[in-house]
Amino acid sequence: MSTIQNLNAFDPFADTGDSEAQPTNYIHIRIQQRNGRKTLTTVQGVPAEYDLKKILKVLKKDFACNGNIVKDDDLGEVIQLQGDQRVKVSEFLTGQLQLPKKNIKIHGF
């Protein structure tokens, strides 16, 4: 009877839980134009195990810019930085935090 798959306790089609997180854990780095030639960089989707506050503190000091954390209803916490810091942020994320580069998406021009 054990050959009948349906009678097994293990359900191969059950949600494993981790499959959901895999495709959506991209970190999006975007740029937005403000007035004049001023810009704003947003970093969305930093994994929850990192302390955003500490990251922001380091980023602000490293890039010599201001920034803050914005809580979005469905996108979670987003780091905002003044100026175009896209390349620097992605370097920081890959270098200091050891995040894989394929998970980082840089948007904008």
């Binding site: 999006h28 975007r30 937005q32 021009f109």
Partner: protein, 300 residues
């Protein structure tokens, strides 16, 4: 064999090896000018091929690259040629020897390609080629590079047309984006419609992507031009367009741009189906993501 080849290359170090491998298009232009009187003798050889001359010479640049790649794959081939041509080319000037090398390489590659894919059919041609090879050695001084090239292409087209650089379907040329400033805060993207029609995409899809990527909003004016909020240079638009093409236009399997974007109503997913190779791939829908509050804040 390798010993032989090595020796000859040593001897021929004076002759520049680079032009044989890469600069053949350059040679083409050089050699086309100094030898006009040889036409008549060549005509006799290539009477049938004369008509195709113009069309095939144009394509010479692209296919020369192809052939150079092939050469790099098979270095032993070069050595063979140099060995076989050793005594002939040593006597001649630099230019001509390199030319001969080219010709023979083309011949060899042609034979190679023919043997690989259409062995039986090519047998007749091979015998012809042998005849030509003999003649070539007689007429080494008088043969024009262009004529030989056109001959090569006509034979190649006859036997295996897919190698002759003839891509099926139209060649995609994307016009450069035209950006004008409208006022001080807006950019006019004039040829969205044109670009989206070349890419075979719905302009709305492209515009939606542009808005999401650039983090702006905008509208379409009366002449179907796109008005974007914010200042954007054509160069910036180009890079965004390039990313759009990579993500939503080129086929991931065959790199063809001849694709179609379909929306499956059953599962609400977008599918990219290639018209060249027939593969389909799902593509992610455009997401705007987080938009920071700019300007006046809402009253809390």
């Amino acid at each position: 064999m390798s010993d032989l080849g090595f020796d000859t290359t040593l001897k021929k170090k004076k002759k520049v090896k680079k032009p044989t491998t890469e600069d053949s298009p350059g040679l083409d232009s050089k050699e086309s000018t100094p030898q006009p009187p040889t036409d008549s003798s060549v005509d006799e050889l290539f009477t049938g091929l004369k008509k195709k001359k113009k069309s095939s010479t144009k394509k010479s640049a692209t296919t020369n690259e192809d052939s150079s790649i092939e050469k790099s794959k098979s270095p032993g081939l070069d050595e063979d040629l140099t060995a076989s041509l050793g005594d002939l080319s040593l006597k001649k000037k630099k230019k001509k020897s390199t030319k001969n090398l080219d010709l023979n390489e083309f011949e060899q590659q042609l034979e190679e390609a023919g043997v690989e894919e259409l062995g039986n059919i090519n047998n007749n041609n091979n015998s012809q080629d042998d005849g030509f090879n003999v003649e070539q050695e007689n007429l080494n001084n008088t043969l024009k590079y262009e004529d030989l090239l056109s001959r090569f292409f006509s034979i190649l087209k006859k036997n295996n047309p897919e190698l002759a650089g003839d891509r099926s379907g139209p060649k995609f040329r994307i016009p450069p984006p035209i950006c004008q400033r409208e006022g001080s805060k807006k950019t006019l993207f004039a040829n969205v419609q044109e670009i989206s029609s070349v890419l075979q995409r719905n302009p709305e899809h492209l515009i939606q992507y542009l808005f999401a990527e650039l983090g702006t909003t905008g509208s379409i004016d009366g002449e179907k031009r796109l008005v974007l909020k914010g200042k954007f240079q054509p160069k910036q638009m180009e890079s965004v367009l390039r990313r759009y093409i990579i993500e939503y236009v080129t086929c991931k399997t065959c790199k063809s741009m001849n694709t179609e974007l379909k929306r499956e109503s059953a599962n609400r997913l977008h599918f990219l189906s290639c018209k060249a190779c027939g593969s389909t791939k799902s593509v992610s829908s455009i997401k705007t993501g987080f938009q920071a509050q700019i300007g006046k804040r809402k009253k809390l």
